[in-house]
Symmetry: C2
Amino acid sequence: VVRYELHYWPGIQGRGEFVRLALEDGGADYVDVARLPEKRGGGERALMRFLVDRRVATPGFAPPLLKAGRRIVAQTANILLFLGPRLRLAPKVEGERLYVHQLQLTVADLVEEVHATHHPIAGSLYYEDQKPEAKRKAAIFRAERMPKFIGYFEHALDRNPRRGGWLCGARVSYADLSLFQVVEGLRYAFPRAMARLEAKHAKVVELRNRVAARPNVAAYLASERRIPFNQQGIFRHYPELDE
Amino acid sequence: VVRYELHYWPGIQGRGEFVRLALEDGGADYVDVARLPEKRGGGERALMRFLVDRRVATPGFAPPLLKAGRRIVAQTANILLFLGPRLRLAPKVEGERLYVHQLQLTVADLVEEVHATHHPIAGSLYYEDQKPEAKRKAAIFRAERMPKFIGYFEHALDRNPRRGGWLCGARVSYADLSLFQVVEGLRYAFPRAMARLEAKHAKVVELRNRVAARPNVAAYLASERRIPFNQQGIFRHYPELDE
């Protein structure tokens, strides 16, 4: 029996990618349901039906959702809070577990700001309908926010008294996998701004490399299960937003 | 000895208010540190020094921060995850505890969108420097997002198989306190749009009233500890954004 069902948009990495990375690194038995053929329950329409299924006592607001047995968990960071101990991707001690979750919530804040660089007015409008606003927002994001977030994670890596190169304690956690994804995404979306930042944040780059070298992650990234970055996801490359 | 120190901007409700409500309802022994006189450790400069204290092994990205003994916890939803069981504001069963956290993270998403209605381009710019963008964003927020979020919470209340009027199970949780705060904030910021929505979402309004009637909450709201809504916080009333 499959232990986990991931329900997320089938054509993008998006927020679901943070869950996919944890499932893959943890060697979990899972199905990425919406990516199945429609006759096997896949597709966006089935995803939407699952989201609004009125029999569910714990409804979610938006994908991703994770189904584990009869339990359905929503909100990316909350799914990782649930999966962390089960996939050995969270510390055992409560204080460290909270800190890893705190880091994940900061990743979530960054992801929201990245999305807003190309959709500053509304997610329901096309990028083409909010280009002047996007350009204005992206310039401030690159100048102020991106350095602040990446500097924060560099500082966090620097503060970890265990010198293994992970964000918290001596073992990898889901927050490390998520920071890898942030680096990959920012490299794709803002290659010029990110190159400048990487020159000053060696520990973040080292962490990115350390995660990429993990056997399960490397196998996943080389597989067809890894959806390439594209212009429908959260991290998008519009050259005019990276000048 | 004081058990909890809250470190948050002293002049606004902001994100810190979700923590204050939990501490107040739970009858916690706490100090709202930044609101003390400067000679006793209060003020914004002391808050900033606390945030960037390089001796802290678990640094936070932004206020609020909660200090409990030697532990420092950041990120609003994470602070509530920590406080919930200690203040009897979270369910005991893991599945319910995750669901309450999921609801809190959805509140956080809503709060971020509310802030973006008056700061769509950058938090570092004045509202006056992004008014056209704010007007455009707020119109879509009122028409699409506000109904979607409030409708979601109404649905969540409706789906709770325990009929006590709380979001999860038969007891109050920090998510209920947070939804109260959301209703109060939306009433202040978007009185016209919110009045229309309340007519169609009776359970959300009932929950707001149920929370307001809790003795510790009522005493808090009547005290000087409750900072009034103002034009520096997350929920701001600009009539031109509520037309």
